[in-house]
Every structure is written in C-alpha cells, then in structure tokens.
C-alpha cells in the first residue's frame, strides 16, 4: 500500500498502462506539453513521446470520434475531456458512434476506448462549467460508466476501463483530485458493474458515488458517535448498475437515502429509488429520499453556489428526517 492522491493514482495508472500495452495512447487537449488542465498526465509526454501522448486541437467531436476510429482498428485510446461539460460537443460521437458500433454492425467490431473527464461543481466556475451530466451517459446502452470515489478505486477502475473491450466513460471529480488514500501496489483491477459496501451499518443505507461517497462516509462516521449506524453503498459503476448490492443493503437496513451530485429530476437517484422500491419494497420502513443538486444553472456567487449543491448538512438533515419518520430510537 502507498498513500497517494486521487490525481497521483490516475497518473500512475495511465503510466503503467502505457508501459504495459503499446496499443494504449492518450489523446486530448493540452495533455502533453501543458501536462493536462488538472495535471493528470504530468510527465507522460516526456516519458512516452508525442505519438503516445497526443495533444489535439480544440475539436472535441473530431478527436473523440478519431479515438472511436482508432479503437476500431485495435488501438486503446484514452481520451481526456478537459471537463465533463465539454463532452456535449462530442456527444454525437459518444452516443451515436462509440456506443453503437459494436451492436449496430452485428458484433464485428469492438470499440475499446476510454473517455475520462472530471465532473463536479463547487469551484465557482458558473453554469456551463459545473455540471454533473453523468446520467446522460449512464442512460445509454453500449457504454459502460464508472465513477471512482477513492484513489484506490481510481486505479482499479481506470485499469479495468483501459483493458475493457467496450467504450468506458470514467467520471472523475474536480474536488476529489487532491484527496488522499491508500492504494494497493502492483496489479489492482476492479470488476466493472459492481458496487461496494464501503461502510457497514444497520439503521439506514446511503447510496452514493464519486464525491458524494466521500461526503456520505464523513456523515456516517459523525452519526456513529450519536449511535446511528449508517451503511454506505458506493455505486462505483453507474452502467451497468449493481441493483442487487443496493437492494441487499436496504433489505437489511429498511431505510434508504440517495446522495447524488446531479440534478434531482430524472437523476441517478430517481433510478435508484425505482430500483429500491422494486427490489426491497416489503422491507422499507420509509419512502426513499434523494439529496441532489438544486435545479438551476449553477451560479457563480459563492453563497448561491453553496446552497445549490448537496452537502453533508443536507444529507444529515434528511437522514434524521427518515429516522424520525420511522420512530427510530437508539
């Protein structure tokens, strides 16, 4: 085990996979000389050269689509989109091409590519640079979508994504890049499509992913001191969705709250609430609650931005409301 940041875990994983497999190439804006807007690719140009770490013009549709075509010929491109927001410029290539080519051509041509990009608000980047659009991609058959919440998972899920034969969307998060954690040395590969119970508990389940998992764990630890035992399920994979792990937890605790960074309506939490009511209906003691972002283009001003985003206080409040509604007593 080595303690490192989420950023370092991603950087070292990219380095390891570039060294391991000559078909792996990195493609993106400013990933070479500039070393990436968020420095995830620092040092890789110097080590692997401009053909393996390929800077692009500002042309998301063009270079994401080029990655699709390179993957069709057997390369394993890992595309960096500067932020999740810019994926919208490439969405035809992601949704109509990367996600379709394997099935639409009758299973003749895999598209083994990765799109990695940070989501996340809270950086005062205003409305167009602060969105959490992961549900758009989680909605699309043919894609796999993963969302690591820890440095260890950043390594395990990124490694799995690069080695996977399908297009995998890896959702990173701006506010996680500097978080630290223990990362296993050597081979550490996750199984895509599996959630994890990251904290055991008996009274209530919080389901979360990415940054929300970190908040959920903080809240769960604080509530532990008050005698409330919260179980935390980290989805890790948004598509496929591990419904069974979620429902097994709720069957045990009988109460569920979803913490999500996206907007409330039609969000990840809506899917989870539907899943839980179908997979754990008779076990529920209270309606499933969702803690999600306020439905507004995110403002720049800090007081407005802060109140719009889901946080520990909102999650704590909702957990207490659910417990109170079920006359929970310690």
């Amino acid at each position: 085990m080595t303690v490192m940041t989420y950023r370092q875990a991603l950087n070292e994983t990219l380095r390891a996979e570039l060294a391991r497999d000559p078909s792996v190439i990195l493609i993106g804006e400013e990933i070479g000389v500039f070393e990436g807007s968020y420095k995830i690719t620092a040092g890789l140009l110097a080590e692997f050269g401009p053909e393996r770490v390929r800077d692009t013009p500002i042309a998301e549709e063009g270079f994401v689509g080029a990655a699709v075509g390179a993957a069709m010929l057997g390369m394993r491109p890992v595309v960096e989109l500067m932020t999740l927001n810019f994926s919208l410029i490439a969405i035809d290539q992601i949704v109509n091409h990367a996600a379709k080519i394997y099935a639409m051509f009758g299973g003749q041509c895999p598209v083994p590519m990765v799109i990695r990009t940070p989501g996340g608000g809270g950086q005062q980047l205003a409305a167009t640079h602060s969105q959490n659009l992961e549900v758009w991609y989680a909605h699309v058959p043919g894609l796999k979508v993963v969302a690591p919440s820890t440095p260890a998972d950043a390594k395990a899920l990124m490694t799995a994504a690069i080695r996977d034969d399908d297009p995998v969307f890896v959702l990173e998060n701006l506010s996680l890049y500097n978080t630290k954690g223990e990362v296993p040395d050597g081979e550490h590969v996750a199984e895509i499509g599996k959630a994890a119970v990251v904290k055991q508990g008996t009274d209530l389940t919080v389901v979360a992913y990415s940054r929300a998992t970190v908040i959920a764990l903080d809240v769960a630890r604080q509530l532990e001191d008050q005698g409330i035992s919260v179980e935390v399920v980290d989805l890790r994979s948004l598509r496929p969705l591990d419904r069974e792990t979620v429902c097994a937890s709720v069957r045990k605790t009988s109460r569920a709250v979803v913490l999500e960074d996206d907007w409330l309506t039609y969000g990840i939490g809506a899917e989870l609430a539907a899943t839980i009511q179908e997979g754990a209906f008779d076990y529920l003691d209270a309606p499933v609650r969702r803690v999600a972002a306020a439905e507004v283009p995110l403002p720049y001003a800090k007081p407005l931005e802060r109140v719009a985003l889901p946080d520990a206080a909102a999650l704590t409040k909702v957990i207490h409301e659910v417990l109170d509604a079920t006359r929970f007593s310690r």
Binding site: A71, F105, P112, E278
Partner: protein
Amino acid sequence: MAADPGVAPSDSTPSDVTTREHDLRDEPPEVLRGYYRQMALVRAFELKASEMYQRAKIGGYCHLNLGEEPTVVGLMSALEARDYLFTTYRDHGYALLRGMDTGRVMAELFGKTTGVSGGWGGSMHLFDMDARMLGGYGIVGGQIPPATGAALALTYRGAPGPDAEAVMCLLGDGTTNIGAFHESLNLAAVWRLPIVYVVVNNRLGMGTPVEKSSGEPLLYKRGCSYRIPGERVDGDDVVAVREAAKAALHTARTERQPMLLETVSWRLKGHSVVDPARYRSREETERLRSLDPVPAFRAHLLDLGVLDEAQAQAIDQDVEAEVDRAVAFADHSPDPTPDQLFDNAYAQEVANAPHALPGDPLMTGGSAGASTSGAAR
C-alpha cells in the same frame, strides 16, 4: 472520355471540372467489360432493392446509388484490398464492389441473421471487417471522425510508402457543411494522416442544391483552409474517377498527406426510396434520364467494339440472375429470434448487464418476505 459540357458538375460552375484526359481505347477490354458488369450489378441491385422496399421486404430508410454507379466503380477499383473504407448511408454499391456477397447484402436489407451486419444495421449500416469496409453510417458526417481515427491508427502500424495502408472516407455534398468534416480535415492535416476524403457530390443534399447550402460550392476547394489538396472529377467518368482516386491514395500512403477528391454526378431518383423528388421539374427528370451514365457507358463500349450486343445482354442477364439469387437467399434466411436481443450488448461481458425486456421485473426479492420492522408493526 472527353468532358461533355452537358455533364458539367454544376450549371453555374461548368468551367471548374477537373478533367483527366484519357481514351477508353487505352484500357484493356476485359477491364472495361468488368466495369460495365459492376455498374450493371449495382444498377440491378438498387432497382431490386427499390422493388423489395415497395413490397415491404425492406424497412427503415433505403438510399440508392442510382446514377452514381460509375463513381462507385471508379472509387472501388482504385481502393486496394489493404485499404479501409468508411461510407455514408448510401452504401449498397460500395459493399457489393468491396467484395461482400450479394446475398448477404440483400439479407441485411431484409433484416436477416445472414446479413452482413447480422440484421442489426439494415440498409444504412453495411459492415464487413474482412472486406475492410468499416461501415455505412446513418448520421450525416458521423463517419468522418472515426475514419480519421482509423487513419491515425495506421500511422502506428508502419512507415509511409507505396505499399502502406490508407483510408478512404466517403461523404455527401451536404456533409461538407457539418462541423465534424472541418474538425476531421484539420486533425488529418496537423497529424499528417493517410486518408482520402471523397465528396460524392450528387448536387442535392436531400432537396437542397449545393449552391444554396455551401458558401464555397466548389466543394473540392473546401480543404484549402487545411492545406489539403483537392480535385474535382466527372463522376460519370469511371476511368477519371479511378485515376484521381488512385493518385490521391498514392499521395496519402507515400506522403501521409490527406487529400480531398470531389466526384460530381447526378442522383437519378429521390433522396431515398420513398422520396418522389417533386422538387424537380418534369423537364429536369426527363433530362436526367437522358444523362443516365449506365446505358451511356454500355453504348460507348458497343461503339468501341469492346462489347457486342450479345455480350452486353449476357452481362445484363447475369447480374439480374445474381440479384434474383440474392433475393431468394435473403428471403429464405432466418429471422433473428428474441433470445438474440442482447447478444451484441457488449463486446466484453460485464457484471449486472441489464437484460430485461419491456415489462420484465427489474429485481426479484423485493416482496420475498415481511420487513424486519415496518410491515410487522
């Protein structure tokens, strides 16, 4: 064939045809007979596809190469087996001449398991990895970035040279206005990729003339911003198309210089099978019939003595029979069965892949017993 003013690429720009002077008598007769057979095959296939569409054997959208046969033959005779092809949704002729089995192409149109894409793609999405035809694409311009990326992949495989692989990417005239075209040409230029973009200009984007949709209607010039050389040829002239495509491919493979080729021809019928092309006057439709390049080529070969009438009729009957056999094959091929619905969901198996049909339960176990607290109270 000398340039005929009557087949200038556009009535407003007749002086901008780039002709490649040549004499058909310089071509080996068996090559010319082969070209006629290929044109006749594409023509017969497309007419049969239209008929099968009317009979509801074919669904969805169905776009035909009628009028573009010399272009199809010229381009495909220039493309080497080692090269890769990306096309638009108007892809039947290219699939046939790229070597896909006529029966399996028709079976794809019929939606059968024996189709070249297993019945998953239909008319617009013909694909064969072995033939290195990596798709017809239904989204206008959608094929251009992946084709560009395929050319990028080739740069990792080997050095440039006369035997190197290259990519040919076809697109329509209207597609030169979409962002993906310009982003891709720019990438190909800055990355020095072995790719030839071919604008198959049939003068109409659905019903909109090139001059009304393109600020620079001389489409071969649209690579200028990226210093990509362009050439425009008469798409009715199979040898001119072949020579221009060969030259462009040679430059692409030896110099990794992306190239832009424009072929200009007439779309004889509507945009797709269901389009009656009412935006054309009766005179225009009559004129187009008189310009039909397939009977013109046949007549030309008869004039030259390369073909005699009996040989020409034998070819016509031969391709008719081939297309009839293709229909019979498609008709007798099995439909996919519902149990195959998720066969192509992912290339690599994954935990918890969703396999629910409409109306299936998401989960079991939700009502398997009383709750530990609530329901019991």
